[in-house]
Point group: D2
Chain length 417, copies 4
Amino acid sequence: MIADTPPMGWNSWDCYGAAVTEEQVLQNAEYMAKYLKQYGWEYIVVDIQWSAPDADSHEYHAFSELRMDGFGRLIPAENRFPSAAGGRGFRPLADKIHEMGLKFGIHIMRGMPRMAAHQHLPIKDSDATCDQAANPHSICLWNPDMYGLKCDTPQARAYYDSIFRLYAEWGVDFVKCDDIAREYPHCEKEIEVISAACRKCGRDMVLSLSPGPAPLDRAEHLKTWANMWRITDDFWDKWELLKGMFERAEKWCIHAGPGHWPDADMLPVGALRQCYDPDNRTQFTQAEQRTMMTLWCMMRSPLMIGGEMTKNDDFTLKLLTNGEVLAIEKESWSAHPLFTTEKESAWIAPRRDGTGYYLALFNLSDEERTVTVSAKQQGLADSSEATELWTGRKTAETESYSATLAAHDAAVFRCFS
Amino acid sequence: MIADTPPMGWNSWDCYGAAVTEEQVLQNAEYMAKYLKQYGWEYIVVDIQWSAPDADSHEYHAFSELRMDGFGRLIPAENRFPSAAGGRGFRPLADKIHEMGLKFGIHIMRGMPRMAAHQHLPIKDSDATCDQAANPHSICLWNPDMYGLKCDTPQARAYYDSIFRLYAEWGVDFVKCDDIAREYPHCEKEIEVISAACRKCGRDMVLSLSPGPAPLDRAEHLKTWANMWRITDDFWDKWELLKGMFERAEKWCIHAGPGHWPDADMLPVGALRQCYDPDNRTQFTQAEQRTMMTLWCMMRSPLMIGGEMTKNDDFTLKLLTNGEVLAIEKESWSAHPLFTTEKESAWIAPRRDGTGYYLALFNLSDEERTVTVSAKQQGLADSSEATELWTGRKTAETESYSATLAAHDAAVFRCFS
Amino acid sequence: MIADTPPMGWNSWDCYGAAVTEEQVLQNAEYMAKYLKQYGWEYIVVDIQWSAPDADSHEYHAFSELRMDGFGRLIPAENRFPSAAGGRGFRPLADKIHEMGLKFGIHIMRGMPRMAAHQHLPIKDSDATCDQAANPHSICLWNPDMYGLKCDTPQARAYYDSIFRLYAEWGVDFVKCDDIAREYPHCEKEIEVISAACRKCGRDMVLSLSPGPAPLDRAEHLKTWANMWRITDDFWDKWELLKGMFERAEKWCIHAGPGHWPDADMLPVGALRQCYDPDNRTQFTQAEQRTMMTLWCMMRSPLMIGGEMTKNDDFTLKLLTNGEVLAIEKESWSAHPLFTTEKESAWIAPRRDGTGYYLALFNLSDEERTVTVSAKQQGLADSSEATELWTGRKTAETESYSATLAAHDAAVFRCFS
Amino acid sequence: MIADTPPMGWNSWDCYGAAVTEEQVLQNAEYMAKYLKQYGWEYIVVDIQWSAPDADSHEYHAFSELRMDGFGRLIPAENRFPSAAGGRGFRPLADKIHEMGLKFGIHIMRGMPRMAAHQHLPIKDSDATCDQAANPHSICLWNPDMYGLKCDTPQARAYYDSIFRLYAEWGVDFVKCDDIAREYPHCEKEIEVISAACRKCGRDMVLSLSPGPAPLDRAEHLKTWANMWRITDDFWDKWELLKGMFERAEKWCIHAGPGHWPDADMLPVGALRQCYDPDNRTQFTQAEQRTMMTLWCMMRSPLMIGGEMTKNDDFTLKLLTNGEVLAIEKESWSAHPLFTTEKESAWIAPRRDGTGYYLALFNLSDEERTVTVSAKQQGLADSSEATELWTGRKTAETESYSATLAAHDAAVFRCFS
């Protein structure tokens, strides 16, 4: 089953924007294989604009001369991905990553390159031409490259089939499709056609939809057609965004389950924005990073590391390799908040195996604060002992759970029944 | 702790509207004591308009001469509640109900009788007069009797304190306060003042807020100040309303917990609308009634019987006395839907004690339908055996759960770990 | 024909709020008869709350004991209107004002006194009682006294008929009905019933509707049922409100005509707010007052003086007695703005008799400014000479009109063809 | 002064859609010169898609290969406009039309051809390239050809300057710019840049903005930057659309004046939709056509004939050559409706020269109806006699004006003072 637990991996956007290179991808893959793989991390995802020779930052260049094959399918820019030379596409890079025991993912925009339509290129394995599939009125509001497709036509299906077959040939395991998750209702059909192309392409691929916020009232559609979808706009290392995620997490938590995961976006940890400044690091405090990891795990969000991993410091590496915390993603179910106020929040997540539950306490205030939950008042199951998973501190006190937390910090207890 | 599990009882509205009499209340109390008490049912609630001598149906009479004492506090109309004669109020009736081992509840409208303000009556145990507490612009949109109070004044607090002290003297255990739950934001302060008066009146009382829909984004305020609150407008015996409750239940389920329960409203079962026609019965099919009971229990809604209980038929009595189903209200936590489509829905609720979980299957379509859930695909905990609680059928098949259900019917499994 | 030109008069609100007395009314009537009558001023209007003995400012007292007769009809409070003693109502006051050659008006709230309904009083010349006509849910948002009526009932018509017959007996010539002009759609029927009662009461009365803004898209309904109606919320002596009136005037100007006049509200000139401070004067500059008078005349708004007239200074009296400017109200038609920008505006109003037109220039900026209009560019009719009506300055230059105006000042030309 | 009275002419859209040919344009010009010129008709306008070789109906073809010069400026498709061969553009056609004593107009879309940007073409008389001026996110919702420009850049100004210089060289007198009038606020700057390019191009051109509805609250911006602008979406020969125009006309009438005219769109009279069916004629009844002409003239809308004129029948020709009715466009000012109800409407328009006024009566109902206006009740100027302009009937009765009108018919009186 695809994505039976929330996918975990690395994505190039937070550190390299649109400009990542093959070399950078490989160095992160090697790091992951060495330090993170044993904790469940496995996907290496090349984000947006890999076909643009002139990409150099988080910005997009209008009217860039994107690389594409004779069928209007984007291919990697060879100046950035040398192994793609000779029409081999991402296959050589994917092979290397697979050899490390990892999985390989790419970003796509919905639609086709505008030039493919203007040049009336043929669609692979089809009698149709690209201009017949393209919708000249369906454009992305923030990226200038593509036309969306007329998804009620066989030509559109033919085009999407043709690109997913190419990705299958390349060995792609994960596709992050962009300009689509918040574009209901007009992209609803496009989601279905892309998802159908993905499922029949001959290779298992996780289908991830961006950007958010996806609409809550379309949750069942998303659960049906995608493996993960963004629940907010882009998430970065600002406390206001992290605090705001509690409200989204509350609304979406009931929709997490095998094969379909609400996605709180990448983890902006460690070395970020490398295309602007190689010394740039996350603005999150350590406390805030614990809060982020705790919330993402409790709500069972996918986990995608955003930083250049080879520059991880000790704290970052430990943050990402706390096996007890990461286990929440795989062992819990039915999580929900007990309460969320301006100053604090508490979440509960029973273990599926019946051996107790997880209880997370969050200090959302800007000062140190003791957060307490009474087991009886909250109707928690009886527990005999508990361990706080960030500190390892054990406690026999199980009538109430309490933690004195720095501003924006979190604690999470494994409570044994 | 007040309302540590969802309150269960009977309310006079669905069968008698605004016109219930003491005799009718007592006959229902006696029935409950005899047939239902052992299953957890305990509250007997007199609904709206008990101070109106001329109430005769579900309608309200404008400019009715409501009975009140010299302090502007409504008292029972003696022609309908004879034991209230001599200024004894509801005390004699409450005493009788307590003697049966049950609890007694009343309905109130927020505010005070309009005439109390126009007549400038004194407020009990206060130097103020009623006109000083009343807000002449704060009126109910559907009932003509009351003025809301100016809740930022000490006079308003004095008035609310005075009525809750009276209810404590009467022996009231449950107060359903009306015209308030959906009146955010302008009634937010009034909720707080009423709740404070309730908590300091000297007697434990459940505080229930009506009508719905209460606003989801004020969930934490409701959890803080009330024990239960309506999540929809009035619920009656129509399939469309029952089907619509699935959406509300999905949004509110994470907010259920000890002391604070989202309320899906009364159960319109058995003999309804008796003030119009003594032969009137619920329009729900038996299947629909099972679906209603199953959903209410899974989401842990309070349960308030709406029918004249002495006219219960066998089916109705069995519906209300299935101890295994009712146990879900007390033994589960963290319930949530697995999915809800136009045609079917499934809900899951782990048991707090770790001994498995409940799984409910609903056929929302208008035809017979087999609803199936794969344990693995949905990430359910491993289970060794299961019992369907409406039929008692046991099954050793636990890789998937399946039920062939009539239109609008439900099944609910107790799955043992 | 009633109100064949825009009504002109005085209203007690701006100077006395809810608290005006008979003596104050008479002193203003005497002033008008002596100084203003010959310029067309004729109505003396007693504004809100004349039945409240305790009115003392611009505020309303909740649960005040309003004076009413045995049929639930409000009558003047004798402590404020001594001539009303003995059940004579406003008749003696109206008689005195008529003797001066003026006309008499009163303010009413839509609906009936709340106590009339609660006391179940009979309706005059009807078998019905007040509670049958009153709508307990129809209340004013800002005044606590009244219930609106159930206007689809004969009882409501009977009540409104009964009060207008009383006003006819009193000799009322003008009724300003409040809480109604901006209350579309729910007060649409109430406007019709009030208007019908007014028209059949046996005496000609101007019917004026307040407060604004009345909805522009209901212009034809207003033109059909009322003689004037407010186009903004309360207008006071603040430049922002005056500047804002240009937009309203632009939208409403096409709807001015005999019998139906969009009303820009009272003129806050001279001595205002006397109930708080006898030395209080308008905050408008002389320039702003010229702009106000010019705009009101060009758009043909009714003119109701707001100040205590006996305290008029020379400027104020001259402002109100410029016969050439006031003539615009009677001699022009089809006025409209040529343009309105942040800094200036120009309006044109042809004379009905074909002898040229009026051209108003406004400096809306906060600095001195020369405003110019080219006759040719704006398509103005040929003109041989022109007179500026505030200064009396004549000009033979008629290819363009120009005025150097202080901040917020106006000029208005009579252009002769 | 450009457009000192409302422009009058012919436009190819209603009869030929996107597909008109040079031959068809010329035959209509010849007709106009012969039959209509003496009544004030003068503009011959080639509507949308004249650079598309494959245009064949009212539809647009996505990814069509539009003809353009080496500077990204669209030029006529030679297969449809043979005289444009050899790079002569519209110059030869304009010359012929000018020789007939008429004026020549063209349609443009805001922006530049998409291919001009994708091909990075140079901008004429500039160092910039087209891709620098184009905004890849600014597209038309209904036409697939163009990108809007980044109007805060000098490159965008350079491009617009370059196309208007070309139009000046061609001898263009009228430019209808499309995809812009209702696109406030995001096209506000683009309107200004286009208007500036038009005014400095060296030749007088009327600037007309489409499609509607332009926003009423931007009237002053439109009056400042354009000569005419559409006040509704496309107008066709359906009574509902004609009836709906009364509301728009009412709102916009005060904004008509020399150089700036609210535009009620083309007149769908005579032979329409010729690209589909050479026998197609207007669906309007003769009565409706009189109503349309009367309303357009009273509100002083520009008049653009939509039908293939060589197929005019007698009625159509007479409709378009009633000099007394057409004179309203030039001789009146300050028009406005007296009233507009579901069943009838009346409009008034004074003559600028003071010699009376025009009064139009409309029957908006679906049955014959006598519409009457009392001169006194409506405050009309005194009149000694009057002539109804469609019938020529004179009347000495001037106390009231009355006409018995067929369903949807109109009368218009010239009332002499």
